[in-house]
Amino acid sequence: MLREAVDSALANVVLTPAEPDPQALSRRHWSLAAEMGWTAADIDEAHGGLGLGLAYIADICESAGRHLFCGPFAETAVLLPSVAREVETLSALLPGVAAGDVRVAYAEASIPDGSGGSVSFAPVEHALQATHLAVIEESGGELRVLITDLDGAEISPLQSMDLSVSVARVVLPDPSRCPPITLGAEATRRVLSAMHIAVGADLLGVGEAALARTVEHVSSRKQFGRPIGAFQALKHRLADVHTALRTARLALAHGVGDGATFQDTRAARTLAADAAMRATATAIQLHGGSGFSWELDLHLFLKRARRLNARTGGTNRLRASAGNDYIERTIAARA
């Protein structure tokens, strides 16, 4: 299994709050990703890639979440190739992506039409490590995407909540150099599907790691003379976390399969985000005092889950659009 290979590669390069140097770690993670061919996984062979497809990407991203991978993996190795499949001109970047030389910073923001003057984006994730920037704006079922190199960009670091990612303000001096691309509804769904799987799998990994740490903790920590994991209320909460993660895993596996629809990938990401939020919050609660201490790495998972959960409007919005689609389809089928 690929997942085990990725896991074992990442297991020795871990972010710890005691050594909180995500920048240095990011460099090490990135060389690993390039060496192991992860950055080439979703790129076809014609562009220097391996053409392994979404199931491989999901495995890599899940491990990335589990090991708090520091670097713009999904943005570079999934988002950029998926946009490039729609916009031929971007495919020139793909060999660089495959080789690990391109790293893409990411922001969701409204994209000005760029007639004159510089334009500023904040917060931008991964900008301190990046060679390129992708800004996406979604509305009415269509994506506008701005992709540019960062030559001449002014990058000022901001404090990041999630230690596994750097955050910055990016000022582009001449945005007219890179006019935004508008993707049609079909193309938008294909691009978003790929990101739903990548982000959903990362969230699943985050949630699984939080659950595993919690099971270990409650099995050894004693209170009132018993391991606290023997208390039924804790058991039931963890059972529900397990079921939520298991459900997300089934949905992701289905979402990378043949014939999976946009609805399937969106549902998978929604379930994964909910499961990860629940797993990480439960982990903090059941660790008691140590759960919110900086020394333990638990909070890193909560913060990563929170960051990823905020993307493209958060699960509220993903969920609502899933519901709208189902309701409209059902009413239309009857009419």
């Binding site: 994991g229 058991k235 397990h242 089934l250 189902y326």
Partner: protein, 397 residues
């Protein structure tokens, strides 16, 4: 072997499905007549009639070996059969215990004589079975079983009480667990008996439940003399058989239930889309919409569980804690679905479950009440969460 409609002999699963679908589309309206689209379609009378019709048409013994008169269909095809029946809106079977549990148990553990005695009458639906597991003091805790069967010469003398026994009021026979040995462990002394429900000393008392109907029974055994050749497997070897029996249905249990749940949710959406209250279409009420959304995501997820369990079963792997997760998700979301139905029905919730002038002839109200039982029967939600935590996550007992 050419018993039954031609689709049974299709080589591809999808062709099997298509043929079955056509067969059902033709057969159900003919059998149902003017009961079609009414609550009578789901009444006990037509349930039996329809099940008899299926068996007469050769649609029983789906998974049995051909040598025993079956069709030797794969689990996947059996699941397709149940799925398409649910999709076509056929009524629930009556002899589900006979077909789904007793028959495979007999096939695996019965003597040649027992197979010959019981299986043909299940195939033809001429004997209805029930299952005597739960007791007043042993609900989720089977090891606490107290009904005793004492061997005297060529009979077992049976004394005790069973509860929550579905179909006992109409059943001809019962697959029953009784304590026959002292046993070091509580599980050791249990045996399985195949009991004729017409034997002297058996009293059946229907239990009326929250819907006003009586779907369950108490069964009292008072010095009932069961012939010794009704012992299934070995004396004191019943625990293993009981565990195996509980597993046969698991792989196909949820598929039709989930199909029905999706159909109910679709119907609710249409009901809410057609209901105006306080100047608003109910489907535009954010609370309704939000619950519908959650439920639709969860029904989709349930389907993935069901498919996964089936796939594992085809490879001979038991569902493990996924079985508990799917039971929880199904029963708890089904409750939420019917809670939502009550919100949508509004003032009509005051109508009773048998009030035919209620929306859908009272089925929403009846099902609302009935779903209260679904988180209790077949392992309470509490038990299933314990199982997930202890067996799935390895948490200490």
């Amino acid at each position: 072997m050419t018993r039954g409609p031609g689709f049974l002999r299709e080589t591809g699963d999808e062709a099997f499905r298509a043929g079955l679908r056509d067969w059902l589309a033709a057969a159900l309206p003919v059998a149902a007549g003017d009961r079609l689209g009414t609550a009578d379609l789901h009444g006990l009378a037509f349930r039996r009639e329809w099940e008899d019709h299926l068996c007469r048409s050769g649609l029983s013994g789906l998974g049995w070996p051909e040598a025993l008169g079956g069709h030797a269909l794969s689990l996947t095809r059996q699941a397709i059969f149940h799925e398409e029946c649910a999709r076509a809106g056929t009524p629930l079977p009556v002899n589900m215990i006979g077909h789904g549990i007793v028959a495979p148990t007999l096939i695996d553990y019965g003597s040649a004589d027992q197979k010959q005695r019981y299986l043909p009458r299940i195939l033809s639906n001429s004997e209805i079975w029930c299952q005597g597991y739960s007791e007043p003091g042993a609900g989720s805790d089977l090891a606490a079983l107290a009904t005793r069967a004492e061997r005297r010469d060529d009979v077992y003398v049976l004394n005790g009480q069973k509860i929550w026994t579905s179909f006992a009021d109409i059943a001809d026979r019962c697959l029953l667990l009784a304590r026959t040995g002292g046993g070091e462990s509580p599980r050791a002394g249990i045996s399985v008996l195949l009991v004729d429900m017409r034997l002297p000393g058996i009293t059946v008392r229907p239990i009326r439940q929250i819907t006003g109907e009586a779907d369950y029974n108490e069964v009292f055994f008072d010095d009932v003399e069961v012939p010794a050749d009704c012992l299934l497997g070995e004396e004191n070897g019943g625990w293993r058989i009981a565990m195996a029996a509980a597993n046969y249905e698991r792989s196909t249990y949820f598929v039709p239930r989930i199909v029905r749940m999706q159909a109910e949710l679709d119907a609710l959406v249409l009901l809410a889309a057609g209901t105006f209250r306080h100047g608003q279409r109910l489907i535009d009420d954010p609370a309704v919409r939000s619950t519908v959304t959650d439920l639709s995501l969860n029904v989709q997820a349930l389907r993935l569980y069901a498919d996964r369990i089936l796939e594992m079963a085809e490879q001979g792997v038991p569902p493990g804690v996924d079985g508990s997760s799917v039971k929880l998700l199904w029963s708890e979301n089904h409750q939420r679905l019917l809670d939502l139905a009550m919100d949508i029905l509004g003032p009509d919730v005051v109508l009773g479950p048998q009030e035919r002038s209620a929306p859908a002839e009272g089925r929403w109200n009846r099902d609302y009440l009935w779903t209260r039982a679904e988180t209790i029967l077949a392992g309470t939600s509490e038990i299933h969460r314990n199982i997930i935590a202890e067996r799935g996550l390895g948490l200490p007992r």
